[in-house]
Symmetry: C2
Subunit: 357 residues, 2 copies
């Protein structure tokens, strides 16, 4: 495990105030190469992006310091990865391939330029996970903390968009990508694991989620009837599909348990490292974030899987006859009714994340 | 002059915390009807917008409380108008017609739902100024103040985009829309004019700028060689064209002076109202915001025209033989060289707005 972020910031870097808004834009753009869909890139009133399909998929997401990330936990490169991932995953969840990002960045004047440069490097690196995607434009402003708003644009290449409203009784429910890993990483950081241990898979899942972008168009091609990315938590996001489709989603605990066991083992491994390095004790039942009820470790891991957001894995419904590739794990079925249950029983813990509750 | 905002907020409105994130989204979407280009609107992972041209113009802009607006000066409907206008004007400045907006809104939990509803009404009303434009999606988050990031998308309908880089020696420079009105309105508000006097044209120009959106595609069709919207100030924005095109822009003071005289008369009229209503004395030479050097009134008005941003008027360069419609006022010419001058002399006051300086 490395204990120093590879992209730590040199203290002598000039600040945004020193280089000014246009110096910052010039700096950022030098780290954000145009992509093959970029007809007009950074530096004009607006960008121009190729949309050969005649439609564009478009989504926007905030990533706010203190709300979605902490600068003492996330390196600027992490923040760039995460900011891009949120929008790229939304594009994928429609069955589209992302082609361009617009990045609005507000920051304090004393922010080092090197921080912004590393942010841009993270944005570019995450875009590179989607062939053809690139940062095509953005905005800058001054604020007391770092605020990001990222717009993702994408191309459906002739596919029908996969909505939340198409699930039908009899469909199977399947997921591509991890569940609960980002939540586990956040809990471990909250319990005192140093962010420098960034090679740990759970910490990395929180700091730099790696959504399975290509699974989105794949699901569309396989005939997915509904799809969403897991940003608010599996139960909450399947709840959106259930509501929009007027169906009941019934998950099978036996299909979820292998992943729970694997997740718990990973968390225990990290806790043992915390013990050895003399960091705050956070093993076993004390992994819970401060102020939350303590759960037994298996319960904690199941809660991460069911209610933890920010992995940006994709969950979709498919007609029963569809043969799914191995990356898609079937975890339940769609039935007549409303809501989401597990083994036909309601889940009683907090169900996801409401920004204003 | 009306002295009460038409869209003041009832105190008994529930808060965002009371209705929750999904209640807020439902509330907003009921005020944001889909437009003719909206294939998938608010409520899924992403929107889908028609782009019949095979290209999409895309831009994003912040509108931050305390930085770009004040809640005690701007009604929520004003904020909606202004947030939409910034992005719609950028789309127009490329020669395109806006077709969709994505609106990211972060707000404190104690914000009344009625504030968000009025914001949505302002966004929708500003979109209605561009046939076919509508809000197609967005994001919500929690923050300590109101943060908006608006993405504008638009269609070129076969036109070449009008960039900043195409101006050539011999071109004429022309502007459509007012200059300095928003800056004058801001100065009047800063000097103590109550925001309730919102029917005053200069106050209205600050609270609800009304960019001449259709002048953008018109300029493209007329053969404009470069174009920009005046968001940072006329000199600063023409400076961007001069830099990108490697040319000198020479403005003629005699072409600017009629507008200066008109602007000054409007400002004096408002100052006389301030005197009559017993508001803080701000007539004549004391219109300057606190802390800035006092200028003679004609100097102040010229400064508003040359360095005041946020009118989002359009300034463009055209080949000399182009016959311009009356809405376009010729204010100068393009010559070999670099930079922006007036009557071949540099302008010595602060030149526009740098967010980090």
């Amino acid at each position: 495990l490395s204990v120093v972020a590879e992209d730590s910031i040199a203290d002598e870097s000039p600040t945004l105030a020193a280089v000014g808004e246009f110096g910052l834009i010039a700096e950022l753009s030098s780290w954000l190469p145009p992509g093959r869909n970029t007809l007009v890139g950074i530096g004009d009133d607006a960008a121009v992006l190729a949309t050969p399909d005649g439609r564009v998929v478009a989504t926007t997401d905030f990533l706010l310091e203190g709300r979605h990330f902490r600068r003492d936990w996330s390196s600027p490169r992490d923040v760039g990865h995460k900011a891009a991932a949120r929008s790229l995953a939304d594009v994928a969840a429609m069955g589209a391939v992302a082609s361009g990002l617009l990045v609005a960045l507000a920051a304090p004047p004393d922010l080092p330029v090197s921080w912004a440069r590393e942010l841009a490097a993270g944005l570019a690196a995450e875009c590179a996970r989607v062939p053809g995607a690139s940062v095509i434009g953005g905005d800058t402003a001054r604020a007391d903390c770092v605020l990001l708003a990222v717009t993702g644009l994408g191309d459906l290449a002739g596919r029908a968009p996969v909505l939340r409203s198409g699930a039908a009784a009899g469909d199977k429910v399947a997921v591509a990508g991890p569940l609960g890993h980002a939540a586990a990483g956040l809990a471990l950081l909250s319990a005192g694991l140093p962010a420098g241990l960034r090679d740990d898979p759970l910490i990395a899942a929180h700091l730099r989620p790696a959504p399975p972008y290509d699974a989105g168009p794949q699901a569309a091609d396989l005939g997915a009837t509904a799809m969403i990315d897991v940003s608010d938590g599996l139960l909450a996001d399947l709840g959106h599909i259930a509501d929009a489709s007027s169906v009941l989603v019934d998950l099978r605990s036996d299909a979820l348990l292998p992943a729970v066991t694997e997740l718990l083992a990973a968390a225990r491994h990290v806790c043992s490292i915390i013990d050895r390095t003399g960091r705050p004790q956070a093993a076993g039942p004390r992994i819970s974030p401060p102020g939350e009820a303590l759960l037994s470790p298996p319960g904690e891991a199941l809660r991460w899987m069911l209610t933890g957001g920010e992995d940006h894995s994709l969950v979709a419904t498919f007609p029963p006859e569809v043969q799914l590739p191995a990356r898609w794990t079937v975890i339940g079925t769609v039935r007549p009714g409303r809501g989401v249950v597990i083994d036909n029983q309601p889940w009683t813990q907090a169900r996801g994340w409401d920004h204003f509750a």
